[in-house]
Symmetry: C2
Subunit: 329 residues, 2 copies
């Protein structure tokens, strides 16, 4: 088999659509119960927290993976899939693959949290490690596909993935409606490569979308401000938000974010830790650093609240020592 270039492999072929999000939402609704939409009072206003850490794999990533893998042709399914992920998308793909009887290989950074590596392997996936600083994960994936075959399931630069992640917005909208609230009118989303943000932007076309990134990994924020895709400048910059450590967004994501006027906000390590501790105390949820970024932006007063603000608590896969350190400092 000839090795395809990462660019050719990653060519998404089509743009994600609201119709696609709605089709994905029907598939997800048949598979998984809605994650709860928890009210939280902040400065006298109620915000609505979408607790995606309660998904079977502990993160929203199961949504996009399910939509993608259930749309494979029988031939594609029998050849297996190759995912690239810092750990949550890995588990989403591995979970969906196991459920569908599809072989899964996942390219993961060697410094991914131990529990994410263990959980992905426990779901039966073949894990291939790479060095986050010195290697391109897309190149590693391309090489693997050249050797073994299979369909690439990118963590965010894929129309199915974007549509699948957007199903969280369809759910939240229905959950708010059940309480007599029109919305969400503002969505604050944790942002790595922009899969969730783009999906929510498609799912809720009337909502104002804010993408929250950790310090040092603010490429989407800078890209949206600059009007073109910029990469992370220092790939060795330390962050606890491993789930949001993506070098750059992809054109398919950027096109949606830009068209919808999405803007970025950056949060500090301190703000993320404060949000994790607050979620422990008041929501009784385990949120990982990357999953607490959106809440951190709210608590730090970096985003104005509206009548129906939705905040994603996007994942909960955090090593116990790290979590213990953060809630007790």
């Amino acid at each position: 088999m000839t090795q395809q270039s990462p660019e050719a492999l990653l060519d998404p072929g089509r743009a994600p659509t609201l119709a696609g999000v709605e089709r994905a939402a029907a598939k997800v609704a048949a598979l998984l119960p809605q994650t709860p939409l928890l009210p939280l009072e902040v400065d006298g206003r109620t915000i609505w927290c979408k607790a995606e850490c309660l998904q079977p794999v502990g993160a929203f990533k199961i949504r996009g993976a399910w939509h993608r893998l259930t749309d494979l042709t029988p031939e594609q399914a029998s050849a297996g899939v190759v995912g690239v992920s810092s750990g949550n998308h890995a588990q989403g793909v591995a979970w969906a693959a196991k459920r569908l009887g599809i072989g899964a290989t996942i390219v993961m950074p060697s410094n991914a949290p131990a529990m994410k590596l263990a959980a992905t392997r426990a779901l039966g996936a073949d894990v291939v490690l790479y060095d986050r600083v010195t290697e391109s994960r897309d190149a590693v994936a391309a090489k693997l596909i050249a050797e073994r075959g299979g369909t690439l399931v990118h963590a965010y630069g894929d129309p199915w993935i974007i549509e699948g992640q957007g199903t969280a917005g369809i759910e939240a909208q229905a959950q708010l409606a059940a309480r007599g609230i029109a919305g969400p009118d503002r969505i604050i989303a944790c942002c790595g490569g922009g899969g969730l943000s783009a999906g929510l932007a498609l799912a809720c076309p009337y909502a104002d979308i804010i993408a929250v990134e950790p310090e040092g990994w603010d490429d989407v924020t800078r890209s949206l401000a600059a009007g073109r895709i910029l990469s992370v400048e220092d790939m060795a910059w330390p962050t606890e938000c491993d789930a949001l450590q993506t070098p750059e967004t992809w054109p398919i994501n950027f096109a949606v974010l830009q068209a919808r006027g999405v803007r970025g906000v950056v949060v500090t390590r301190r703000e993320v830790r404060d949000a994790m501790r607050m979620a422990f105390e008041r929501l009784h949820l385990v949120i990982e650093p990357g999953g607490a970024a959106a809440l951190a932006a709210v608590l730090a007063g970096k985003v104005a609240l509206t009548d129906a603000t939705l905040v994603t608590l996007s994942g909960g896969n955090v090593d116990p020592l790290k979590f213990a350190e953060i809630i007790t400092e």
Copy 2:
């Protein structure tokens, strides 16, 4: 005002009923969204975990308190309520009282977890402390009511409280039905005084009910085996399950438990800690020791699983130092 004896004060006046549970369920449904029913695989079987730690006060106690306080007459409401609680019922009563504009005094043990004391006060309740080993909380409450007036809202020995707690069973039944599952056919409940267990026994008359208590505080287990109410033998016995530290069940609870053939199971400190760590890792939930007792019984293999086993994760109010210690040991 003449001081009433604790016995007279605690006379419930009526027995709880399934019709009462159903009326309470309608009131709770109008107030709070359903708590999620999370599937968890244990030894190849799926158990259904009712995540009551996600209630606004972090425990199921909000259910009974709401049912009780919304049924007060206007005269009773204006005289206020007096609750007795180790901390979760305290918050449930304080939350409901604040929402309804009713004054609340709560009698709490001086060694209750700091976060429970702080949260109850933050909800506007007047907290009166007593010594768990040397004082009777019912006597303290009776004295307070003689001095200040008000209606006693007992933590478990009250028909409204029992009916209210049972609403968790009505919800779980509907949630299972939505997945095409008839049940629950077995319910494993964390048990202090027997309010939740009795409520669930009324709510789900076809289910087998198992009440789980911590070592040393196994009065309900011993009482059910003996056929009469027995008290805890050593009130100074140490346990981390502060929410389940009740000296004895009450006749109104015992009558329901006995009529339904409920049996008790006892779990160790080690088993409870293992369950908390497992809930952290796999469910991404913060469960307090008392809230993890039922799950502990399952994980320790002390209860056989059925096709539709329901497990209550009844509360999540735990001090961060304690939680950190448990997930990292």
